[in-house]
């Protein structure tokens, strides 16, 4: 569907046309899925999509029908992406077991590549502990012994690194 089509559909949704709105949400659902799959670990993608659909619904009055729809949707998706990155700061990570079923590696590979590009822009000490604790699921203690950083330094580096990731994302023009 072209952006023009979505623009017209959103304008109709703002006037209360539920059928068109349903079609629009149905069409932006896979768009959002593709958006987040490139940017977040697979486990977070569904939540991010649903969160963004809710935000689109709650903030639909902020869309101006005279302007294209896709940049508006992109701005909301990006906002929710940054939110998720921030949430990673406070979320606990659990160590992964080796016997979990992984149906498809494609999403994981795509998001890992995108995350790796971002992590490359951090200081090595920060990127290392984020990889170990937030992506590989190691404990703070294990990351400390692997990297030679003290436990408190690991925590500080994770906190600062994720903060830097959020600001990198915010500053960077969204070209994808």
């Amino acid at each position: 569907m072209s952006d023009r089509g979505w623009t017209e559909m959103m304008a109709a949704a703002q006037s209360g046309n539920a059928a068109v709105y349903r079609r629009l949400l149905g069409e932006i659902d896979p768009w959002l899925h593709r958006y987040f799959v490139r940017r977040l670990p697979p486990a977070m993608v569904d939540d991010a999509v649903q969160d963004t659909l809710l935000a689109v619904h709650e903030k639909r009055h902020t869309y101006e029908p005279s302007r294209p729809f896709e940049p508006w949707l992109g701005a909301i998706a990006r906002y929710k992406w940054i939110d998720r990155l921030r949430a990673m700061k406070s979320s606990r990570t659990e160590e992964l077991t080796t016997d979990i079923a992984i149906p498809d590696h494609e999403d994981a590979v795509t998001s890992a590549r995108s995350l790796e590009r971002l992590l490359d822009e951090l200081k090595p000490a920060q990127a290392d502990v984020i990889r170990l604790v937030k992506l590989q699921g190691l404990s703070i203690q294990e990351a400390s012994s692997r990297t030679g950083q003290t436990m408190s330094l690991v925590k500080v580096n994770i906190h600062r690194g994720l903060g830097r990731l959020s600001s990198l994302v915010r500053k960077r023009a969204d070209v994808e």
């Binding site: 703002q14 539920a18 709105y21 349903r22 949400l25 569904d46 809710l54 869309y63 101006e64 906002y79």
Partner: protein, 213 residues
Amino acid sequence: MSNEFLIDRLTVGLKPVRPRKPVIDGVIIGGICLLELILFLGMGATRPNMPLAMVQPSFWWKLTGLGLIALFSGAAAVMSFDPVRSPRRGLIAVVALVAICLGAGWMIDAGRGGWGAVVGRLDWRNGIWCVHDMTLLAIPPVMGLGVLMQRGAPTDRKGTAWMVGIAAAAWGAFVFVFACPFDDPLYTAVWYSVGCGIVTVVSRLALPILTRW
């Protein structure tokens, strides 16, 4: 919950919404500010020697500077309630505008004698009262802009909160100019900056939490 189920839930009983217009937001916040100014002046809070003040360059410096800062940052804040618009450029411009205003104050003040009298000119007892009053006067605009911010969809909540704080603080100080009996540019630069700074920092800390979406 599957996305299909969520979409069904969101579309059931869909009600029409009126698209947000920045101009309407501007009119609302302008109305609140104007009402505050009218009430403030109507309560007889104007300084008694107003005719004398009106020939002082520092009075017009305060009024023009704060008015421009309030107007510009208010407009930039309202624009940034749109998810597609960032407040960053507006913030840089406002910081430059504040620097220009303070520089203009320094030029007005250049004729005044002596650094030795600086502490006396600052008159901290009255200064604290001025800070108190201008902070109270900033409450209506900060609340009005906060409600509009909550209704909008700012994607850089911290930047927008800075902008709202600067706009509300500058408006509170602008209204207070009509009651403030002190014309010394040094006094104004220091105490007005303290008052505006408090409102701005409080807005920056509180609004991102209160307007989370």
